[in-house]
């Protein structure tokens, strides 16, 4: 079995930029995510040639062309499947999957689910802009009810999927949230990278052409304190400059917002975030924005054995003591020898 930790090497942000002209719309949230990624790579000691970006189809999936690494721009929805084969072939590679709400949850929903269930060691970054951008503005599986577009001129009627709830329900062992222009995004990416196993990150991304400012209600800098709950392991779930917190209603077993007086969060029974608490994670991913702040940062992080490591371990274990003797293999089973003159012998 190979050592799966890439050897770190000092790089600069510049080392991660390609000579390719970036083709996203001016002002697209993807630029900010790309910058955050290029800034994060040197900090985590990533090695360009051991890093592979795998993407599907959609605006976000052009990402690999702009990272000076190995890159594979595959087909719609199938990046998780390609990444699975790649990582099984070479577990030493540091694999990042770049996908969108349509790519990961509509056409590729099945593959996303199975990659998370298997726990392939990779980072899966889902750029959620709640719209189909590259096909010009149709509603997506995460669009809110009533989203109008060329295919839903009277508004969409079906309810959206919740990416983080889907991920957790699929068995993900790492679930995080961020948004394109957030200064905290690199920290989320770092945490995802540090997690051994499938790390699922939902990144709210502003599509300035087809779904402009749909996340402004929580992402706008003004009033952000009141509308964003940045989670930190071991820290109380506080927001609004520490004047509000999240607690558990013991009657209904649901979360609720409480006021915190004079910073005494203990008195308000504010929950201390434990990233390994799966039950609380289930409640956090279901927390409805509006009634609650938007939960951001690392919602859940509890690693366990990864798929490719288990496969390689089993391959090695069952091969132990056996030699790859092809001639012997060909002669196995129901065999007999035809002699020179007479008929067959046993």
């Amino acid at each position: 079995m190979n050592d799966m930790t890439p050897i770190s090497r000092a790089t600069t942000t510049k080392d991660w930029e390609t000579d390719q002209e970036v083709r996203w719309c001016p002002g697209c949230g993807d630029y900010a995510i790309l910058k955050a990624m290029q800034r994060t790579m040197p900090e985590i000691g990533a090695v360009p040639e051991k890093t592979v970006f795998v993407s599907g189809i959609g605006c976000s999936s052009r990402f690999p062309y702009y990272m000076e690494t190995y890159g594979f721009h595959t087909i719609h929805g199938r990046a998780p499947a390609v990444a699975t084969g790649l990582k099984l072939a070479n577990p030493e590679l540091d694999v990042w999957i770049i996908t969108g709400d349509g790519d990961a949850l509509s056409i590729g929903g099945n593959h996303t689910m199975h990659l998370l269930r298997r726990n392939l060691d990779c980072q899966i970054m889902l750029f959620n802009n709640e719209i189909y951008g590259l096909t010009k503005g149709q509603y997506s599986p995460t669009s809110r009810v009533g989203t109008s577009g060329p295919s839903t001129p009277y508004g969409s009627v079906d309810r959206p999927a919740m990416p983080c709830a889907f991920a957790l329900g699929s068995g993900a062992r790492f679930v995080a949230r961020g948004f394109d222009v957030s200064k905290n995004l690199p920290e989320v990416l770092k945490a995802a990278h540090a997690h051994k196993g499938a790390a699922f990150i939902e990144i709210f991304q502003n599509c300035i052409v087809y779904n402009k400012d749909v996340f402004e209600d929580f992402a706008a800098p003004k009033g952000a304190e009141d509308r964003q709950l940045w989670l930190a392991n071991g820290e109380p779930m506080l927001f609004a400059k520490g004047t509000k917190g999240i607690t558990l209603d013991h009657q209904s077993l649901t979360l609720k917002v409480v006021d915190v007086v004079d910073g005494n969060w203990q008195a308000a029974a504010v929950i201390v975030h434990d990233v390994t608490n799966r039950s609380v994670a289930h409640m956090l991913v279901e927390m409805r924005f509006g009634e609650f702040p938007m939960a951001l940062g690392v919602l859940y992080d509890d690693p366990r054995a990864t798929f490719e490591a288990e496969v390689w371990t089993q391959n090695a274990e069952v091969s132990e003591g056996k030699t790859a003797n092809l001639s012997k293999l060909l002669s196995k089973g129901q065999t007999w020898i035809v002699g020179e003159e007479v008929g067959p012998e046993l």
């Binding site: 390609t18 390719q20 360009p48 040639e49 051991k50 592979v52 795998v54 189809i57 690999p64 062309y65 000076e68 690494t69 190995y70 890159g71 594979f72 721009h73 595959t74 087909i75 199938r78 998780p80 499947a81 390609v82 990444a83 699975t84 084969g85 790649l86 990582k87 099984l88 072939a89 070479n90 030493e92 590679l93 099945n110 593959h111 689910m113 199975h114 496969v311 089993q314 391959n315 069952v318 091969s319 056996k322 790859a324 092809l326 001639s327 293999l329 060909l330 002669s331 196995k332 089973g333 129901q334 065999t335 007999w336 020898i337 035809v338 002699g339 020179e340 008929g343 067959p344 046993l346």
Partner: protein, 622 residues
């Protein structure tokens, strides 16, 4: 040309004969495939050449006694070369009324029927939709009928072992096997050993089965002179000295892939999704991990091929396998492998279609799908195996083309080849020329071009992880040499032309087409591909023995075709193409060479019989 419907012809079996066809038929739960498989082994050990045809329903355990629940296994064995499982059986062993009803029509006139009359109850007759008992109403007069109460004889034989009635009756197939072994003068010892191994954990069951087999054998010995039951002696077939084994098509492919990967110096990554009849390849490979084989049961057909593409990108030999419906799902991903110019082997174990079609029956109707079935101008090499042994060679050839030309390759087999077994002379691997893959691991002179090409127009294979060769690939049109995104009209024209020229160029690496029988320039060529090899070869051989001017051409390389094929076909007055489809190779031949190829089609889910092809030959030469 008409489709096929013929009555079986032939004469009663002689006690000293060259070849015999036996069909075992019973309920799905009667163990007919097992009985057939063990009888095959005994044929091999007796030195006979053989070919088998397992024919079973799609349902795992259809309701007992029903017509659609009948499972059959046919074996043709003999002292001369055997190419097919035989047209019409000489002997039919029918374990119940349903098995009799669905199979007796195929039996040669005068052939021998052995039935378990213990199963011919009013209830079972009703389930088989018999108004009257065929054993008593004279409807079987064309054949010799041997009624035995096999059920009762089995119960008697296994009585000392104290099994329950149901368990005891499960030994019926061994009683039948014992009788069959006696009929063809076979040694029981290897079967006794096999039963002991099979039931090592339950010696009582082993002893009961052995007792049933011995009882069947003993019955033959004592009954010989009193009825239609006789012992037959089939001399060993002439075969080159050496080590032989029984090989199914699925085994041939699995072993060929392992051999091909060794010749290429690559680990195997196999991505598959369960589907009949292709799953057997996944099953075989999953036990060969010590050969550097990783198998991955994906969540669906698309993930199966995409994971294989990802593995090829990572430097393994990516392989995926399916049957028609699954291959259809993989179509888009094949285009990705074509666009990114990565090696990939795709195996299609064809079955009856369209849609779910006939999952357990054989057909050759995916040739169009293989050659043309993708969006865009998306050529890829297609090769077709003719037999289990040939599947081994074809798998190696598929691997060679995939890695030498950096392309996906489709290997076609079918349900008949996948399940059928034949004797196979174990090859000496030192006779195969290795084709080791050289990954590019440094910047070449003149700089690195991800879509730069060698003289075969193949691009270089670079593994992610290699320093200084970072690059991006994908399904969007690539710029010549650099591989950057490029949508310009001129570039797309050039890249499309290159992709076509690369695949056309594969023809430079394959041998000229030869004739299996006969030679160029005759009156008639019978042109086949895939599993029709056996019946065509036998039929043409027999016609030539009658001095008819007919040759047999069998095409392995479906795309691109051998360079001399057009010229060869044009040298004949007539060309007939028998296919288990409505004329797909025929269309391709007409298109490629403007030859007047005539179709001979059969899409009944059953292989051609020799007689059907002989009739076509006679018709064309009349």
């Amino acid at each position: 040309m008409a489709t096929i419907a013929q009555e079986p012809t032939g004469a009663a079996l002689e006690q000293a004969c060259d070849t015999v066809v036996v069909r075992f038929a019973g309920d799905s739960g009667d163990g007919m495939q097992l009985t057939g498989g063990q009888f095959t082994l005994s044929s091999a050990l007796a030195g006979n050449d053989f070919a088998t045809f397992p024919d079973f329903p799609a349902e795992i355990r259809a309701p007992q006694g029903t017509l659609f629940g009948v499972s059959a296994f046919q074996i043709n064995f003999g002292s001369t070369a055997i190419d097919t499982a035989g047209d019409a059986p000489d002997v039919l062993v029918a374990m119940n009324p349903a098995a009799l009803k669905t199979n007796v029509g195929a039996l040669k006139p005068g052939g021998l029927i052995i039935v378990d009359e213990g199963e011919f109850s009013a209830r079972n007759l009703d389930k088989a939709k018999y108004a009257t008992n065929p054993l008593e109403d004279g409807s079987l007069g064309r054949w010799q009928l041997l009624k035995l109460n096999i059920s009762q004889a089995t119960l008697d034989a296994v009585k000392p072992f104290g099994l329950g009635n149901k368990e005891a009756l499960r030994c019926k197939n061994m009683w039948t096997l014992g009788l069959s072994l006696w009929m063809f003068d076979r040694d029981r010892a290897p079967l006794v050993e096999w039963l002991k191994t099979k039931f090592a954990k339950n010696p009582v069951l082993a002893d009961a089965n052995i007792a049933a087999m011995n009882a069947g054998h003993a019955y033959g010995e004592t009954a010989e002179l009193s009825g239609p039951l006789k012992q037959y002696h089939i001399a060993p077939a002439k075969a080159d000295p050496g080590l032989y084994r029984a090989l199914t098509g699925a085994e041939g492919i699995a072993l060929g892939l392992v051999a091909g990967a060794q010749l290429a110096g690559l680990p195997i990554f196999f991505g598959g999704y369960p589907i009949t009849p292709a799953s057997a390849i996944l099953h075989h490979l999953s036990r060969l991990k010590e050969f550097g084989v990783t198998t991955f049961q994906a969540e669906d057909e698309i993930a199966a091929i995409c994971s294989a593409i990802g593995a090829s990108y990572g430097g393994s030999l990516g392989i995926t396998s399916s049957s028609g419906p699954g291959i259809a799902l993989k179509g888009e991903a094949m285009g990705l492998a074509i666009m990114t110019e990565l090696p990939l082997v795709i195996i299609n174990s064809q079955r009856g279609g369209p849609s779910t079609g006939l999952p357990t029956k054989t057909e050759q109707s995916d040739l169009y799908q293989a050659v043309y079935g993708r969006n865009g101008d998306a050529p890829l090499p297609v090769i077709a195996a003719r037999s289990p042994g040939d599947a081994f060679e074809c798998a190696i050839e598929a691997v060679r083309i995939a890695v030498e030309y950096m392309t996906p390759v489709m290997l076609l087999t079918d349900g008949y080849i996948a399940n059928a077994a034949e004797p196979w002379a174990v090859p000496d691997m030192s006779a195969y020329k290795p084709f080791p893959v050289e990954f590019l691991d440094h910047v070449p002179e003149g700089g690195f071009k991800p879509y730069g090409r060698d003289e075969k127009l193949a691009r270089r294979w670079v593994k992610p992880g290699t320093p200084d060769l970072l690059h991006r690939i994908g399904g969007i049109e690539k710029e010549v040499d650099t591989g950057h995104i490029n949508y310009s009209p001129a570039n797309h024209q050039i890249m499309t032309d290159i992709r076509k020229a690369k695949i056309d160029g594969v023809a430079n690496s394959i041998p000229d087409q030869t004739c299996e029988l006969g030679g160029a320039g005759g009156k008639l060529a019978i042109v086949g591909w895939g599993s029709t090899y056996g019946p065509i070869h036998q039929a043409v051989g027999r016609a030539r023995d009658r001095s008819q001017d007919v040759s047999h051409i069998h095409i392995r390389h479906i795309w691109p075709m051998p360079k001399n094929l057009g010229e060869l076909l044009k040298s004949f007055d007539h060309v007939i193409v028998p296919e288990m489809n409505t004329g797909q190779l025929k269309t391709v031949l007409r298109d490629q060479f403007l030859v007047d190829a005539q179709p001979l089609n059969k899409v009944s889910g059953q292989p051609f019989t020799i007689a059907e092809i002989e009739a076509a030959i006679a018709g064309a030469l009349a």
